[in-house]
């Protein structure tokens, strides 16, 4: 598997992976999250686990089981951590812990290193057995609801270290806190190269016209992704530029609000024949890849964002991307170089028009964006970073490690 990335990923990343693999071969590495489908975490784990196994590391992936009450609570916790006002009662926190207690009995928690993804399974630390425990936070913690953040912090402080996607999400937890951006897999069905025929086949069912520029946003139907704002921006653009808008997203099993937001979006689109609202089933990677490849410009107009990997996905396909200056998006978009950062619906509309009217600039941005993703946001780098974090924890106190 690692040889497949030769010629795509930076050589140094592949070399370091092999070196770290030699150091950690035969050790066990357990990842735990809350869903096997939907969202960026599950996508990356799907690809990362076989990769780690090939390096000789005993990698496992477990997803905690929960009912709708549990996921309603964790969704509220998630929203509160991203700055929404939510009331999480003691009873809800107790239930959060209780479901994790049940899962701790079902999942074999013995491992040399454990990476626990996001708040849903964070209380598993209460049932730790052995190994190094690392809490991996993928969400935007820059402006959380204080009481919810404080409660969760009680769990986080018990970990050996934490990993955040962006430095500004890190909290003073009193443990080692590493910064590791997430990544995309250039060989996955969602990002691999497609032929024109493959693109056409994948998009046939959507009846999307290809004779006009397409503006695309791919993301879950979630208010934080501001799909209504995207439609408003599109309506401003269309006064000047004939184009179509595609809003495409998959549902996630841990997001009970998704359907409600989808209905709001459909209502707001009001049967406009040029707005395509596509609810894609989980694992619609082929369709997303094809959509990103036919798009003229790609948006990620989130109001809050963990990292916003759809930005890197589109950049990898050489597309100019317009993103909000939130979460990890400014780490991916260098304003005016690899895309545009915007702060409003009006800003998004203006930049869309600028790109639609400057194909040469769009091409240049796309090229630079692809190279920026190659060196910073490919899966090989993320796996490298996870192993480096684990290895550095085994060599605690040393800031320079020779391999």
């Amino acid at each position: 598997m690692i040889t497949q990335y030769a010629g795509i990923a930076p050589k140094g990343d592949l070399l370091l992976l092999q070196k770290l693999g030699e150091k950690l071969a035969g050790r066990s590495f357990l990842h735990i999250n809350s869903t096997r489908s939907g969202g960026g975490v599950a996508e990356i784990l799907n690809r990362m686990i076989p990769f780690l196994k090939e390096l000789g590391i005993g990698a496992r992936w477990e997803a905690i089981e929960g009912n709708s009450r549990f996921f309603d609570i964790t969704k509220k916790i998630h929203n509160a951590l991203q700055g929404n006002v939510e009331k999480i009662t003691d009873e809800m926190w107790d239930y959060h812990l209780e479901i994790n207690r049940k899962n701790s009995k079902e999942i074999d928690l013995h491992a040399d290193a454990l990476l626990i993804h996001d708040p849903q399974p964070a209380p598993l630390i209460e049932f730790r057995k052995d190994g190094k425990w690392i809490w991996r936070c993928h969400i935007d913690l820059s402006n959380p609801q204080k009481d919810v953040c404080d409660y969760l912090t009680k769990y986080c402080k018990k970990y050996d270290s934490a990993i955040f996607s962006v430095a500004k999400f890190a909290k003073a937890l009193g443990i080692d806190e590493f910064i590791v951006p997430p990544s995309i897999d250039p060989l996955s069905e969602k990002n691999r190269e497609f032929t024109d025929q493959e693109i056409n086949e994948a998009l046939l069912k959507f009846n999307i016209p290809v004779d006009r520029p397409a503006i695309l946003q791919v993301s879950r139907f979630d208010r934080f992704k501001d799909p209504i704002g995207v439609i408003n921006a599109y309506r401003m653009v269309r006064r000047y530029n004939d184009s179509i808008l595609i809003l495409a997203g998959s549902p996630a099993t841990d997001d009970p609000e998704g359907e409600m937001v989808l209905n709001e979006v459909r209502e707001f689109a009001a049967n406009d024949p040029d707005i395509y609202v596509l609810l894609l089933p989980p694992f619609s990677d082929r369709e997303i890849n094809a959509l990103q490849r036919v798009a003229t410009v790609v948006l990620q107009k989130s109001l809050k964002e963990g990292f916003g990997l759809t930005v890197s996905e589109a950049m990898w396909k050489g597309k100019p991307v317009i993103g909000s200056a939130v979460g990890g998006i400014p780490l991916q978009i260098i304003h005016g170089v690899t895309g545009f950062l915007v702060h409003s619906v009006e800003g998004a509309a203006f930049r869309i028009r600028q790109i639609l009217n400057n194909p040469e600039m769009a091409r240049r941005m796309g090229e630079r964006g692809r190279e920026y993703v190659r060196t910073n946001f490919l899966i090989t780098k993320q796996i490298r970073d996870y192993l480096a974090v684990w290895y550095s924890m085994e060599n605690k106190g040393r800031s320079i490690l020779e391999l």
Binding site: A170, E177, R384, L401
Partner: protein
């Protein structure tokens, strides 16, 4: 000079994993106070390691970049960009220079505004991993070929980081060219490359040009001792 007995150049590379210190600054006064107390590792990261990040260079360290982009204090960012970390033997001296520049700014200009929430300066450190690239050069032609293929992290390690590691302010490349190949002039030309003005890819281009020129000279006048 024949190749017998020449010490080959072994390419190595370094990569850094970011660590948060938990410290941040929302205005210039806080930045000043944090610089005064931040760990040496953190000061090192935000100055020496700036070049490893592959930024589009407008500044020469993170402090200057933040002053320019987030506080929009252009004059301060110019002053901070002019601080050469390689001119100092100790981090403590570099720290004092940064503080001197900021204090000097305070004495002339009014207090700058605060950064927009979310745009604060975050003090980080790194864990650096160093590893061999698995490539060696026994002569200048092989070196040139390797230079085309190594990652930017390798150029950083040998061209930037070496100046601190060796403590002499000299890079690994020119040292090898002078000591192992006896090419003093070429070494001097490489030492004259301004490491603050170019990105790492720019450094790669300048190194390539200097070495190609040297090789061409050798090919045009074979056997002539230089």
């Amino acid at each position: 000079m024949g190749e017998e007995g020449i010490e080959p150049f072994e390419f190595r590379q370094c990569t850094s994993i970011l660590k948060s210190t938990g410290m941040k600054a929302k205005n210039l006064r806080e930045l000043r106070d944090r610089i005064a107390t931040a760990s040496d590792d953190s000061i090192f990261h935000h100055t020496y390691q700036y070049f490893l990040k592959g930024h589009i260079l407008e500044y020469t360290n993170d402090f200057a970049q933040w002053a320019g982009e987030s506080l929009e204090e252009r004059a301060l960012s110019e002053h901070l960009s002019n601080v050469d970390p390689y001119a100092f033997r100790e981090i403590s001296d570099l720290r004092q220079e940064l503080l001197r520049v900021i204090d000097g700014y305070f004495s002339v200009f009014p207090e700058p505004r605060e950064a927009i929430p979310g745009d604060e300066f975050y003090f980080n450190e790194t864990v650096t991993l160093i590893f061999p690239v698995g490539m060696r050069a026994r002569n200048l032609a092989e070196f040139l070929m390797a230079l085309k293929y190594i990652d930017s992290g390798s150029i950083y390690y040998h061209f930037y980081e070496a100046r601190v590691r060796l403590g002499s302010g000299i890079d690994d490349f020119s040292l090898w060219m002078e000591d192992a190949l006896g090419k003093r002039e070429l070494a001097e030309r490489i030492r004259a490359i301004d490491l603050f003005i170019h990105s790492i890819e720019g450094i790669r281009e300048h190194l390539t040009m200097a070495i190609e020129k040297e090789l061409r000279k050798e090919m045009e006048f074979p056997g002539v001792e230089r």
